[in-house]
Each structure stands twice: as C-alpha cells, then as structure tokens.
C-alpha cells in the first residue's frame, strides 16, 4: 500500500490537484500500426499510410476514440524494429536482402519498411502523444520473432552462439538466451533506444513470446548452473515446474537489470509487465511462469516492476463476470499496492477470454460487456484497464461511447482516491 499512502500524503500536503489528477483511472491502448496498414475504404483506397507521420497521427486519432489516455505503441514485429534502430538495423533487416528471411508476400504489409521510414516513427509518435497530454510508451513483446521468418532478429542472425537450444540439442534462431550477458546487454541497448525516444512506459508483454519458452533454455550457461546448483542427474522436461522456476531466475535477473537501466537513464519511466492466463492466485505455479519462465509475482514482490498488465484471465463461462471479479480481486490483493494493476477490456479473442467470448457466455452486447469489465476493474481497485490491441473499428462506436462515458464519469479517477 506504499504507493497509495504516498499519493494520499501528496494530496494532504497541498498539491492535491496535481497529485490527484495523476491518479486518473488509466485506459491503456495497445497500438499496432502494422494492423492499420492495409485498411481500405470502399473503392480500395488505403486509409492509413503508416510509414508517414500523417498516417500514424490518423491511427492515433482513431485509437483515441476509445477514451484511451495511455498509448503503448508497438515498437517491433518480432525483433524487426519499427523505427530506425541502430541495434537491429545492421546489416539488413529486409527480406530478401538477408536471404534467411522468407518474405511476407501480402500486399502492402509485405513491403513496409518502418526501419527506414523518416522521420523516425517511434520518436515522432511518442512526441505527438506528449503534446496531446497523453501518457506514452512502447508495447514490447517478449519475443525475437513473431511467427514469421521475416521478423527474426537481425542481431540473432549475427550471433548464433547465443541461440536457444532444446533438450535434444536443436538450435533455433527464434530466441537468444538471456543466460548470456551479451544478450542482456543487447536488450538493454534496445531499451536505451526506446527511452531516448521518449518512452515513459516500457511494457514487456510476456504474452507474446514468439514461440520462446523454457523449452529453448538448455544452453551452456544454464546447464552449467544447473550442474552447480542441482548436481548431475537427468535434466527435467521443459514443462517441469522445477525447470521453469530455474529458468525464471535468469529472466528475473534480466528484469532487474532492465529496472536498473531505466533508473540510470534519469528518465521518469515505468516498467510494466504483461501476463496472461491469470487465474485466482494459489500456491501453484502460474501460467506465465510455466510457459514463459517469468515469475511475475516475484517481480512485484521485489518491486522490480511498476505495473502489471493482465492480458487475459481464466474466467468461468458459467459465472463469467463473477469469476472475473474474483480473479481481479485476487491479483489486486497479491500486488498489494506495490505496483499499478491494469485489467483487460479487449476485443481480441484468440485466447477465447476476450469480449466476444464474454458476449457468448453472457448473451450481452459488446458495449455492455466492455462497460461491465471496466466497472469490475475499477470496483476491485485496479489502476486501469488495457485494451489489446485497438485496431481499425474493432471497438465499435457503441463500445467506444460506453468506455468514454465511464472513463469521463464514474471511473475518471481510481476508486480509492476519489
């Protein structure tokens, strides 16, 4: 509760207006400009040229219809950065200039070159958000490939010696292991690039892992550490909670290093972590630990992260909203005020946990479901909601109106600090 006490104290000592204004209930929109790149009007005219500043401003305008007050702009597809990254630019990140990248053959999508666009896309859009008084940062998936060959990391291709390895000895360029200090350094340099461009929030989304998992962590440093700490003996299966917990030590160290780097930058920036498939918390290992090798509860306990963004929860179809509320309450309780907590109000439904699935379970319209999820989050003491991702018209006009109404009305401020 340290954060809440500080906020209350701030109000009490005469800076009430500013401090309380800072406690606006947050509505974070994940924005992926790539998904707008092929939106056409009747007649086939493309609506958003996302390689230009004007095109991205148009994307931002569309996203803001939801009432979002925090923008988390996607900085990459896999490890192909969507700005002029020095770290992931060299030698060439374009297919077929690097022949190991099979090209994306979709019209428009397959010919985007965000990494060359000028002015720098990320710098421009973060600045645009700041000028509009929005909180702005990046949505950075915990992946080095996004399910397609052309998204594999250029840095990965240059450094096969750090690639992930399976228990059977198969190397894979889809993930370099954080067990190598060189890999951590590389990622911290990427964080520097984001901070330097003005990111106020670095949101590491472990939900999107691009196929990475503890399965690829049978690398030399981890095997040597295993031998030192656990002795000789058969290595556990990658699904074994022991192995996942073991791997999470390395992931944890990365987040600690990132925390230090953000702090050392001297910039006021939050470090957020995205988690998925969250259930009412018990002593059993959670899905994020078992599938991503990340112990988010420890990150919260040790105050390594400033916020937890819940991407999906395992609600019960028979008790959709009730079970959602129970899980939200459990997560807020577990975080104990040590960090911000954002809950999902998402039209994305590939997890079968989004608004369309709630609609199916409750027979309510999307706008009503969205309103109800926002209300539950607010009532349970969340710091805000997260909309994953706001694409072109995937939040209907009615849903946007419902969300805006709540965000400007009853849920304008966080519940505890009204």
């Amino acid at each position: 509760m340290r954060k809440q006490r500080l906020a209350l104290l701030a109000c009490a000592v005469g800076v009430a207006v500013d401090a309380c204004a800072a406690e606006r209930f947050e509505a974070a929109a994940l924005v992926d400009s790539f998904d707008f790149a092929h939106v056409t009007a009747r007649g086939g005219r493309l609506l958003f040229d996302t390689e230009t500043p004007q095109g991205n401003v148009a994307v931002l305008d569309h996203v803001l219809l939801t009432g979002a007050n925090t923008i988390l702009w996607r900085n990459c597809g896999g490890a192909t950065m969507r700005y002029q990254s020095a770290e992931e630019r060299w030698p060439f990140v374009e297919a077929p200039l690097d022949k190991r990248r099979l090209p994306d053959n979709r019209p428009v999508h397959g010919w985007l070159r965000y990494y060359e666009a000028a002015p720098d896309i990320l710098r421009h859009i973060l600045n645009e958000c700041h000028e509009r008084g929005l909180r702005a940062g990046v949505h950075w998936p915990f992946e080095e490939t996004h399910w397609a060959s052309w998204t594999f990391g250029a840095w990965n291709f240059e450094h096969p010696q750090y690639w992930g390895v399976t228990a059977t000895g198969q190397v894979w360029s889809g993930r370099c292991s954080l067990a190598y200090p060189e890999v951590v350094s590389h990622k911290l340099r990427l964080a520097d690039e984001l901070l330097e461009r003005g990111a106020e929030h670095i949101f590491i989304d472990t939900w999107r892992s691009g196929g990475w998992s503890p399965e690829y962590e049978y690398v030399r440093p981890e095997l040597e550490r295993w031998l030192r700490e656990r002795g000789a003996g058969p290595l556990p299966d990658f699904r074994d909670p022991q192995w996942c917990a073991f791997v999470s030590e390395t992931s944890h160290a990365f987040f600690v290093a990132l925390r230090k780097r953000v702090k050392a930058s001297g910039r006021k920036a939050r470090l957020l972590i995205g988690i998925s498939d969250v259930d009412a918390l018990t002593d059993a290992p959670d899905a994020t630990l078992l599938t991503r090798g990340v112990d988010w509860q420890r990150l919260v306990r040790e105050e390594v992260v400033d916020g937890v963004v819940v991407m999906s929860v395992k609600w019960d179809k028979a008790r959709a909203f009730e079970s959602t509320r129970e899980i939200y309450r459990s997560v807020v309780g577990a975080c104990g005020g040590r960090c911000d907590v954002l809950f999902p109000v998402t039209m994305y439904d590939f997890t079968k946990r989004g608004i369309p699935s709630y609609q199916e379970a409750t027979k309510q319209a999307a706008d009503k479901v969205a309103g109800e999820l926002l209300r539950i989050a607010w009532e349970e003491g969340a710091d805000g909601i997260c909309m994953e991702c706001v694409d072109y018209r995937n939040y209907s006009e009615k849903t946007c109106a419902e969300l805006k109404s709540a965000l400007e009305g009853k849920s304008r401020f966080k519940r505890e600090l009204r």
Partner: protein, 537 residues
C-alpha cells in the same frame, strides 16, 4: 557427423603463405571417419569500411564478383584477382545483390529500388519489387520484373537458364524456386512450389553436370534452414541433406560435383562457419576460418579454394582459403528400406452398418451420437511409432463455418489430437501431426475447399517427420517438418468431430483410410543413396 577441427593460418606476407599452407595441410588437422578436409592460408581479399558479401568466382578464375554496402545500399562490385583492384558493376540508387556469373563473363543479379512508402507503391500500381538483371559488357538488361521478389540466381553451367528463388504468386511467408530459360521468348516457370505460413526455398545451385539441384529450405517457423537436393528434372522428390538440429544455408557445389560448401551452425560452434559436405554419405566438416562469422562460401573454378565472407574486422570482408578434402571411398548411408504401405483402417459403410476395417480383417463398430459424426474406439494398427503414415479422406463441406471444424482426428495417449485433418475458418484444409514435445506441426492447402463439392485429401507424415499434403491428387505448396512424435496404439478415431465431440464438421466424410508407409500412387521420399548413387553410375 564427422567434425574436423582444422588449423587456420592468417597471414599477411606472401612468404608465409606456403609455410602456413604446408603447416595447415600437413599437421594442423584432425580428421574423423572417411571424410577429412584441411584448410589453410586464409587471405583477406578486401579491406576497409563496408560489408562485402555474397562473393562468386568467375569461370576463368580471374575475378570475383560480390555485393557491397560501402555506399549505403547494396551495389555489385568486381575484384580483379591479379591486381587486387575493385571496380563497380552495378551501383547507384537501389539494391543490387546476389551476383551469379554467366559462362561468358556476364553477371546475373537481383535489383530492387523502392521509392516512397508501401502504400504509395500500392496506390500507384508499382511493378518494382526485386527482379533479375543481366550485366554484360557494361550494359544492364532487365530479365524479370514485377511486384514480387526474384533473388539468389544461379546460372546453369552452359548459360542456357537461370534458377532462382521467387515470391511470384506466393501468398504466405514463403518463396518458391523458378527457372528462366534464356532462350528468346521463353517464359519463367515455377519448378518447386512452396507456400504457406513459413515455407520457402532459396539459393538454388545446379550441379556442374546439370543433373541435380541443391537449395536451402525452411519448412516451418520452428525449424532451421536445411539443405535439400533433387534431380533437376523433378524437384518434388527431394532429399534433405542436413540434420534438423543445425542451421544450414547458402549451398554451392564444388566444380567437380563431389562436395557441397555451405554456411552452417551447430550447437557448440563459436559462430557461423563454412561447412563442407560429402553429399553421398552426408559427412560434414566445419572449416575453422578464424574468429567471427564465416559465411557464403563459393568455390574457385579449380575446386582448390573457397572465397567467403568473415566479419572479424568489424565488417564482413572477403577472404580466400585453400581447401583439400580427402574422399575415401564412402560407405554410403545405408538407405532405410521404404516401409511397405499398408491400409490399417478403412471406413466401410453398408446400409446401417458402419465400421472401421483393419488390415487383418478385424473391425470396430461405429459409436454414433445422433449426428453425422462417427467415433471408433481403439482401432488396431494405428501405432505407427516414428514411421511414415498417411491419412486419406474424401469429404464434402456443406458450408464454411467461422471457426475450425474437424474432418478426422486420431486420439492417442501421447496427444489427444495426435493427427488431424480439418477445415480452417479460412476454408483451407489442414493436415497436422505432432513433434516429440507435442507441438502442433501442420500443412494447409493452397486454396479454400469449395463448399458442396467432394474433395479428396491425403496427408502424409514421412519417416523423417516432414509433412506433405495432396488435394485431389495435387501436391500442395505447404511444407512442414519435425513431426516425429512416436505414436502408440490409437485410443480412438473420430470422423466429423473433435476427439471430445466438439468442432463438428458441417459436411460429410465420404471415405476414410489411414495406413502406414506411403500410399500407393504417391511418390516416395527420395533417399540420399538413390539420388547420388544412381546419377553417378
């Protein structure tokens, strides 16, 4: 695998060259097995800033063409071996890359120049992707052009044709292999169709005698690049030459056709390295060319040296090294006999009597639940282990649904959805099996299935874990690999619904059979021995 840990010598002065060579060849190598390679005398060919890559030796051995980014984008340049001077071949705006020599001293290369954004190009109806150009006597001629990507060309030894990778007509994250005859009026033809989520073939290399084609192939997102080879007259039947555990690409035949050099990385290697393979036995040798990544080897015309790129200086620069490989009579990898095809389960419908008939004549009676769906409990004979098997279904989809619908599923203790045939929400047909960790490995059809029209689907899990799919007898472009799960006895087979009763098909299964081996009438997977021995004889 034969691993050679070879001495390398970096030298500056010419006098040291011979000493280094002798030392390297005489004493610096450890060999293993019947195939040994020795390398020595690594010499820098280019210096300075910028990356020099994709080098190829001219047929007369006097020049090396390569691509360079010294000016920012990629240009083609030429190195005179005698004088060491470098001159521009294709420079200026845009990228010129992947040079390949013609027998008469010309160069075929890829060229692309993208001005403006993708949206602007789309609106303007651009036809400027990456195309092939021919440079000869200082003049460039456009060979191919369209809003796709033609790249990594290889000119045949007689100069009559070019093999290359192309995305023309492809839809996924993919590339196919094409052939362009240089005869007047000839049209390019696709010779190996690969398409889908992530599947592609890149950098074809024709053997000096023109009989076999070699290329790098990526079969799926989770796989590594691997080398494949096939008879040049039939690329549909190909042999995978490199193990799935390693990454291998950029292959080139030696001038005598007995060796293949390529870029590779295996667990424990310090970096990308130049590998040499003896294709008949599959023996591999990693040449230690020094610190840094060593990539894209290409043979000198006499077969005694390789030119390659290495980044130990901070930039990729070109180097040459002498290579000697001893080809002791190889014990060819014993080709595993093809498993005999056998229909292990076949659907039989006679009036109200519906059964799954086994190979031995035994049968399992259907369990119905009042729908079109059929369930057969514990059918015998579907315990394929890691061997090849197939699933063949004839079916009709009445109407497409908004989500996935199951045509057939094999339910196993190892995985509840051990193998499946299903219809995606896109209307495309899929065949899937599993890898040893239980991951889904699947291929999908080139096009959506037509509603109301009978269609025949055949999915094959080959003995090496690769997947193929035929629709109405036509091999589909999708590929996948790594489906090597070992199948024990089937718990049940469901037709028209998922193993748990969900995802019901809006349609009917007209016929079904499942068996081991490759089914009759379908080309078998070519073996290494068949490909390399028979052509040599």
């Amino acid at each position: 695998m034969t691993r050679c840990d070879l001495l390398q010598r970096w030298r500056r002065g010419g006098a040291l060259a011979l000493m280094a060579l002798l030392a390297g060849l005489a004493a610096g190598c450890r060999s293993g097995g019947a195939f040994t390679c020795r390398c020595a005398d690594v010499v820098a060919l280019t210096t300075g800033a910028g990356n020099d890559t994709e080098a190829v030796w001219s047929p007369d051995g006097k020049r090396i063409a390569f691509q360079t980014d010294r000016s920012g984008d990629l240009d083609i340049a030429m190195l005179e071996m005698g004088s060491g001077s470098v001159s521009a071949v294709a420079e200026g705006p845009g990228h010129a890359c992947y040079p390949s020599w013609t027998p008469d001293g010309g160069l075929v290369y890829t060229y692309g120049n993208h001005i403006g954004t993708a949206a602007q190009a789309s609106s303007a109806g651009s036809d400027c992707g990456y195309g092939l150009q021919l440079w000869k006597a200082g003049l460039a001629q456009v060979l191919t052009q369209g809003y796709w990507r033609d790249y990594t060309p290889c000119v045949t030894a007689d100069g009559s044709a070019i093999y290359y990778a192309s995305t023309q007509g492809n839809t996924g994250n993919s590339a196919s292999l094409w052939r362009l005859s240089l005869a007047k009026g000839a049209a390019a033809e696709r010779v190996l169709h690969l398409d889908g989520g992530t599947a592609g073939a890149v950098q074809p290399s024709l053997s000096p005698d023109g009989s076999r084609l070699l290329w790098a192939q990526l079969d799926s997102f989770r796989q590594n690049w691997r080398l494949y080879a096939a008879r040049a007259t039939n690329l549909q039947e190909a042999v995978c030459l490199t193990p799935g555990e390693m990454s291998a690409y950029a292959p080139r035949w030696s001038p005598d056709g007995r060796l293949i050099a390529f870029t590779g990385f295996s667990r424990g290697d310090p970096s990308w390295g130049v590998y040499v393979m003896e294709p008949c036995s599959g023996a591999l040798c990693r040449l230690d060319a020094g610190a840094g990544n060593s990539r894209s080897p290409a043979w000198a015309p006499d077969g005694k040296e390789l030119v390659f790129e290495n980044n130990r200086s901070g930039f990729y620069k070109l180097y040459r090294m002498r290579v000697v490989c001893d080809l002791a009579p190889t014990a060819a990898t014993a080709a595993a006999p093809h498993p005999v095809a056998c229909v292990e389960a076949r659907l039989s419908v006679r009036d109200s009597d519906t059964r799954l008939i086994g190979a031995d004549g035994s049968s399992v009676v259907v369990k119905r639940d009042g729908t079109n769906a059929l369930t057969f409990v514990r059918p015998a004979g579907l315990d394929f282990g890691t061997n090849a098997f197939y699933v063949r279904v004839a079916m009709v989809v009445d109407a497409h649904e908004r989500d996935t619908r199951i045509v057939a599923v094999g339910n196993y203790a190892e995985h509840v959805m051990g193998w499946q045939v299903f219809v995606r929400e896109s209307g495309k047909l899929c065949f899937s099996a599993r890898d040893p960790r239980g991951h889904y490995v699947g291929v999908e059809s080139d096009k959506p299935v037509e509603a109301g029209k009978p269609v025949s689907v055949l999915g094959i899990r080959a003995g090496d874990g690769s997947l193929l799919m035929y629709v109405d007898g036509k091999l589909q472009g999708g590929r996948n690999a790594g489906a090597t799960m070992s199948y024990g006895p089937a718990l049940k087979v469901c037709l028209g619904q998922q193993w748990n009763g969900g995802m019901r098909l809006g349609g009917r299964v007209l016929a079904f059979e499942c068996g081991r081996g490759h089914p009759a009438g379908v080309p078998r997977t070519l073996t290494r021995e068949a490909l390399f021995r028979e052509v040599d004889q």
